[in-house]
Point group: C2
Chain length 339, copies 2
């Protein structure tokens, strides 16, 4: 049998562990064009939250009783797709279960078994996390050497990678995170130039802190959070600034009421670009980007944290921590020992 | 002497006629590189409101006692610039006064004296208004034939031109305006496919009205207004939609408190572009754009309204009407009879 995490009930507001259940399902039969994969690692992403509510946005929501979709790393047990062979190591958008059948999509690719990078990192810095940071910052944000880049959610997996890539590109980098430990980590571990603790700060205090840390103004604001962090950043943008909008995590659970936005006018006054993006728009450039990310990782220029929980039974409780600020870098569940 | 409109006091909230004064100033001496111009027409633009408050955005604010800057049409009395001759008809960023000296900038050009279009229209459909509609819609909005384009401030000078250009490009066009007369005009005079009266509508009612008029969703939302109109439009955007942000007139006077924005998450979920723009970014393309606009005007595909007030003494009272919904198309003050 095949342990599988299903959606048991739709979250109302804040997600709860009780919205999920681990059940036994039969091993699926791969259809023509599909892969049957034994999953070693599964990624837990805040964006999946949006799949659990009503239909909206770019993905079809998960039905009640249905297995959760997620990115996984595993080995092909049986390939019914011409580009993949039995035994290949793959990253793919599969399911939160021990064995999955799925058709390779834009976020599926083979992993080089000789890579010196840990297998689960293909779900993080060498996977969706690294690619999101890379293309969001470089393609939408277009930072130039000497510019100032501000990052929200900066201690998170994407945010910490964005800041380091911006440093590699010669920018001054300031991060916003919650609490003394995370802001200390921005400076000491991820080598940001400045760090701002948003906790306990009003919009005005946050704006003042950004102005202090970004004396030349903000050229690129990489947005993971939204709410008053977005409004405060809008107040500090330079003329022609770019705001790649990766996520608005403060709005996923509606745990805070939507805030009046005081500084949207700067979109006109400063001629800003405020652009959502999807990394798979850049699918053709993935191989080159992954090579560059691997080079930076191996040279020590790009460091990252992963938080790996053991066992599919831990998945639901771990998922909830993504929204309570407890997580420490990219969060992954280990489903089986790689063989 | 030289009648001149100066800023007498900074507006607090809603603009008032008493913020301005007509005074006599000496005829200026043009410096090297400048033109001395007798002004026939001066443009009154809502965007000038932002010059009257504290420094922010892309322009230096007007000091107290200083003449108001504006776009003018006039004749060169004395050229000290190699590209212009005495007697040339010009559009330029001059001042709200009878005779001005200014250096030609990106929004200065010569007018063909043989054009069949009225001289003052070089401040409107063949000037900043037409260019703003043209480049905002086509360069940022990139509408494709068959797509749905929604326009706020649709009965205004820019909005009505945007809608008609979108029709020329084969789009379904829906406009939002205030009141029965303006919405009737959208359909009958500017040939929009649908019109929505925002007056008296809550954000939910506005969203429902947009959904009804745009059954295929909105691909391009051309934004002049902001506030709940922006929030309602965000709720209705299609995947990959574009929002050229031309103005946020509801926020200029802060007459309405900033609204909580409920639908910003769609920037991520629908991968939207929300981009400010400045038409002078496209300066190199102005001559071709002006030719195309003139062709559309002469063929009757692009109609427009102008409201011309007589005399510099009327300027202040007329300026205030831009913010009270009374205006009827592009608002211009006639300063002298063309000679």
């Amino acid at each position: 049998m095949n342990k599988t995490v299903i959606l048991k009930s739709r979250p109302l507001g804040m997600l709860s562990e009780t919205n999920f259940e681990v059940v036994e399902r039969p091993i699926p039969e791969p259809a023509a064009g599909e892969l049957l994969v034994k999953n070693y690692f599964a990624s837990l992403d805040p964006g999946v939250r949006k799949l659990l509510g009503e239909p909206e946005g770019y993905m079809v929501p998960t039905a009640l009783g249905e297995v959760l979709r997620t990115n996984t790393v595993g080995r092909v047990l049986q390939s019914r797709h011409p580009d993949y062979a039995d035994g290949d190591l793959v990253v793919g958008t599969g399911f939160l279960q021990e064995v999955s059948a799925f058709a390779p999509g834009p976020m599926t690719w083979k992993i080089d078994p000789k890579s010196r990078i840990a297998l689960q990192s293909n779900l993080g810095i060498l996977g969706a996390i690294g690619l999101t940071a890379y293309f969001g910052l470089l393609s939408v944000g277009q930072p130039k050497s000497g510019e100032t880049v501000l990052v929200s959610g900066a201690a998170g997996a994407v945010g910490s990678a964005v800041g380091q890539i911006a440093k590699i590109k010669g920018c001054r980098v300031v991060g916003i995170a919650g609490g003394a430990e995370k802001t200390r980590r921005l400076i000491e571990e991820f080598r940001f130039d400045g760090a701002i603790d948003y906790k306990g700060k009003s919009a005005e205090q946050l704006t003042a802190a950004i102005r202090e840390q970004c004396p030349q103004g903000v050229d690129v604001y990489f947005e993971n959070v939204g709410g008053i962090q977005l409004d405060a950043a809008l107040a500090c943008m330079n003329w022609g600034g770019r705001i790649p909008v990766c996520g608005l995590i403060s709005e996923y659970n509606r745990s805070v009421p939507p805030q009046p936005m005081l500084n949207l006018f700067n979109i006109v006054a400063k001629i800003l670009r405020v652009d959502g993006f999807l990394s798979f728009t850049y699918k053709e450039e993935f191989p080159a980007a992954l090579r560059e990310l691997e080079t930076w990782v191996l040279s020590g220029k790009l460091v990252y944290r992963e938080h790996v929980e053991n066992g599919i039974e831990a998945a639901a409780a771990t998922f909830v921590t993504l929204f309570t600020g407890e997580n420490r870098g990219k969060t992954i569940v280990k489903l089986a020992e790689p063989d």
